[in-house]
Symmetry: C2
DNA sequence: TATTAAATAATAACTGTTCCTTTTAAAAAA
DNA sequence: TTTTTTAAAAGGAACAGTTATTATTTAATA
């Protein structure tokens, strides 16, 4: 039997899994990977599956509620969604936020070529202060 | 029977495979992936293996003769090794070089925190001029 | 030319992620 | 409240890019 499509309110479920994953990212300030988020979410929801974590993380990113940053070909996530960038320590792997003004000069130059800039990503690689000290005063 | 280690010249073979892979990267201006380099290298050396291409590309990168850039968690390679950055079109996937002055302001700020900056990477995402036109004058 | 070990070809293994199928459960309807 | 509906979840298989393994080849040296 066909169902008449009313075109009205589409369902959009509000699941515990999504809420928990979101909260985990908001509560983390170490840019966790999906695996780490999974680990932490399981403390609250022991039966959550890794696939769900991946799907929800992607969803939240697309909704703009969290941000994905990719380091070493691996996704990391953070609750901060304002314009900022990252420093990655090659020794300990730590990812730290870096406040950088948008380089208007460069953007303008790119846009003059007819390009549309939608997102900008700066990454700084090197040694964090701790590792720099530890690895000797070169 | 033990061999006395003279500590003298270590062997370092100069293979056709390495020469060809290097030349392919130098001749390409489209930031090819390892697979693409493999494809092109095979025109010259039909029996070269993908594993060799990966190993040689890594070697050349470490020697500073080529540069690796990662887009969408996939490695791409280029012969240019001077300081420059990239624009990535989300529609056609094309990667284009972008000339950007080093942002001394930001670097200084990072270094004031005791960090050692060894490498900097800027990526601009959006639409290239062709795709921007094609996708309509929004 | 014979020797030797660095580099290769071929292929298996690995890793982070996505996809697929069945089941569950949130929300709408009865 | 109970039933129905179907979006989302669990579990696991599949996938893609890359790395590791091993027997073989070959460039460089003796």
């Amino acid at each position: 039997m066909e169902k008449v499509e009313t075109g009205r309110t589409r369902k959009k479920r509000n699941t515990r899994q999504k809420a928990v994953v979101y909260q985990v990212v908001l509560d983390s300030n170490d840019h966790p990977t999906a695996e780490k988020v999974y680990e932490r979410a399981r403390r609250e929801l022991p039966n959550i599956s890794l696939g769900t974590v991946y799907r929800v993380l992607k969803e939240l990113s697309q909704e703009g509620k969290i941000k994905e940053i990719i380091v070493n070909k691996q996704s990391h996530f953070e609750g901060r969604t304002d314009f900022h960038h990252h420093f990655i320590c090659r020794a300990c792997g730590k990812i730290e936020d870096v406040e950088t003004p948008l380089c208007r000069y460069t953007c303008k130059k790119v846009e003059q070529k007819g390009y549309v800039v939608e997102d900008i990503e700066y990454k700084f690689y090197g040694l964090c202060s701790k590792c720099a000290q530890k690895l000797g005063k070169e």
